[in-house]
């Protein structure tokens, strides 16, 4: 349904601009706030044009050189922790899901259906439901304040397993047979044929899971107590102290801007693959 009418053109643009404004304005305000001094921000009305404190604020946030009432851990370190956790979570999820989907689709073993359903049922359980038992396990294993503790509990993924299972089931049987005739064993088939064919799905999943890992809040809040192991999302929270003390909002906002960059980059750089992975049916 394509209609061409000046009024409709105007209307569609108006709706789109409104949408952009709703989404983008808070981000703009955050950016503006991150370029002023803390005193300037708390004045009314708050300035709506960028100030001249950009380098100062971002440098201060990254290195943690300016001390305020809240935590002043260096954001650079936090970004690193976040990056490592997000990467480990997303790559780990992909690896485990690929392998378990491979096992479920291509191997006949006792209780195959049981295992599939066991995985599938956990789809319905969010992390929050099992967070206390998980905490107990991780703490007993002395994994608090470690990368392992931050990532391993989040790696198992029913969603990704299910996605790969569905994809594998669409791979024609003849391909498996051709590989068998060619002499490829199961792992060879997996490595040479299945994984390359899944490339677009893997890319799409990577984008989703990277953002999922980067945005983790509740679990790192429980699993880390050491400033050195804060991911940036927790870092923002810790920078804001309770009570009436003057907050360094400029640094908080700068940190927020910094925290947004890596997921945005991942989405932008992998956009083509991401879309392809979600819509592609070519085998």
């Amino acid at each position: 349904m394509v209609e061409r009418h000046p009024w409709l053109t105007f209307l569609t643009h108006a709706v789109l601009l409104l949408g952009v404004a709703i989404v983008a304005f808070p981000v703009y305000v955050t950016f503006v706030a991150s370029t002023h001094t803390a005193e300037e921000i708390v004045q009314t009305p708050m300035p709506l044009l960028p100030g001249n404190q950009f380098w100062h604020n971002y440098a201060a946030a990254l290195t943690g050189s300016e001390h305020g009432p809240g935590s002043s851990a260096p954001v650079g370190r936090m970004m690193w922790v976040s990056l490592v956790s997000a990467l480990v979570i997303s790559l780990g999820k992909i690896a485990i899901s690929l392998l378990s989907a491979f096992a479920i689709v291509y191997f006949r073993f006792p209780f195959r259906r049981f295992f599939f359903w066991a995985i599938f049922v956990t789809l319905m359980l969010p992390v929050e439901v099992r967070i206390f038992p998980t905490y107990k396990v991780v703490s007993d294993l002395h994994m608090l304040n470690t990368y392992a503790g931050l990532t391993i509990p989040l790696i198992a993924s029913a969603t990704a397993t299910f996605l790969f299972r569905q994809f594998f089931m669409t791979v024609p049987d003849e391909l498996v047979e051709a590989a068998r005739v060619d002499g490829a064993g199961p792992m060879r088939f997996f490595k040479d044929i299945l994984v390359p064919l899944s490339a677009t799905s893997i890319a799409a999943l990577f984008v989703i899971q990277f953002i999922y890992g980067w945005n983790q809040y509740l679990w790192p809040l429980l699993a880390t107590t050491d400033e050195n192991m804060y991911p940036v999302v927790i870092g923002i929270k810790r920078m804001i102290s309770g009570g009436d003390a003057a907050q360094q909002w400029n640094l908080v906002m700068a940190t927020a801007m910094l925290a947004m960059i890596p997921p945005a980059l991942v989405v932008m750089l992998m956009q083509k693959w991401f879309v392809k992975g979600l819509v592609d049916t070519e085998k």
Binding site: E177, A178, R180, V181, D182, G183, A184, L197, K283
Partner: protein
């Protein structure tokens, strides 16, 4: 190169009394270098049989040996076979070269040798300019050739073809058929070729196996299968239009079909309920006054070089194939047929088998 022998081969799905048996004891000796076509209607077990030779289906009973070695428990890759699949089963993410080289790479053949063998196969199949392309950039016919190339580079002792031409259009199919024949003449590798298309079977086969419902109905050269079908099924399946089959009662040199008594040019092999088969081209339509079989003409089909005359003898449908240049009879007319004694095929009604 190798002979293939099938000894009492059985395929069952499931276990115990509920098992569903789809192949009921097939016996065949395929000699070294022979081109054998397995033909039959869909669901007759022809593909299953081929896949059992390939090792993609387990053998439930009997024995298959390739080159004197029983292969029942041997992996497909160890059987020294190469298979061309119906949908070609090319690896979509690999170039044509990699598709053809994959099996050799796994077998750890040195790279120069792989290149030499792929180049040689590419030359035979005229794929030289396509080696860098991906399967999705190829036409159906080219994909088909790549699939054959993948089989050739392995230099196997047996080629297995699972309906490799069914995804091509009619023209390309005819051309590829010829190519496969040339290829076989050149390489001389024992080949098993499955198809449901009787024209493919007749043109390609040195010998053909006709299958029906999991049983081998006949195993012989195309000429023999056509001239002397072993069962009613083969008589009806091979030949287009199929052989006319008249069910009736024979008594000396008379054959009674639905109230009409036909004079036989020679005595029936025995008296009683029999089935008489006559090929459409052997009807013996003649413009003489000699008494013969009366056929009621119902419809004429013009096919170019020839015409098909559909009608009835007694109450049984009967089709004639006549030269397109002859003046055809008209619908509603009666014509007289004088089939030659050599062109009458007799079958037992009970056992469905041919009576000599």
């Amino acid at each position: 190169m190798a002979a293939i022998s099938l000894r009492n081969v059985v395929k069952r799905y499931g276990l115990g009394p509920k098992a569903n048996q789809v192949i009921h004891g097939v016996n065949a000796e395929i000699t070294d270098g022979e081109f054998v076509v397995i033909v039959g209607p869909s669901g007759c077990g022809k593909s299953t049989l081929l896949r059992m030779v390939a090792g993609l289906e387990e053998i439930s009973g009997g024995e298959i040996s390739i080159g004197g070695r029983v292969v029942n428990d041997i992996e497909p890759s160890e059987r020294d076979i190469a298979m061309v699949f119906q949908n070609y089963a090319l690896y979509p993410h690999m170039s044509v070269f990699d598709n053809m080289a994959y099996g050799l790479k796994i077998a750890k053949v040195p790279a120069e040798q792989i290149k030499a063998r792929v180049d040689k196969a590419a030359k035979i199949l005229e794929l030289g300019l396509l080696l860098a392309r991906k399967p999705r950039e190829l036409s159906g016919g080219q994909r088909q050739r790549v699939a054959m190339g993948r089989a050739i580079v392995r230099e196997p002792r047996v080629f297995l073809f699972d309906e490799p031409l069914s995804n091509l259009d009619a023209k390309l199919r005819a051309a590829t058929r010829l190519e496969i024949r040339k290829l076989h003449a050149e390489l001389g590798v024992t080949s098993l070729f499955v198809t449901h298309d009787q024209v493919e079977a007749m043109t390609l086969a040195q010998r053909m196996i006709v299958m029906n419902a999991g049983r081998m109905e006949q195993f012989g050269a195309p000429e023999e299968v056509y001239a002397r079908p072993a069962t009613i099924f083969v008589a009806g399946f091979i030949g287009s239009p199929p052989m006319n089959l008249l069910t009736g009662r024979a008594d000396g040199s008379r054959f009674v079909v639905g109230g009409q008594s036909l004079m036989l040019p020679c005595a029936a092999p025995r008296a009683g309920e029999l089935i008489l088969g006559v090929r459409p081209e052997h009807g013996g339509l003649e413009a003489t006054d000699r008494p013969g079989w009366t056929m009621q003409v119902e419809m004429i089909e013009m096919l170019g070089a020839e015409r098909l005359v559909h009608g009835r003898i007694g109450d049984a449908p009967f089709t004639l194939r006549i030269d397109g240049t002859l003046a055809p009879p008209k619908a509603g007319e009666q014509v007289t047929l004088h089939p030659a004694p050599a062109h009458l095929h007799w079958f037992d009604r009970q056992t469905q088998a041919r009576i000599e």
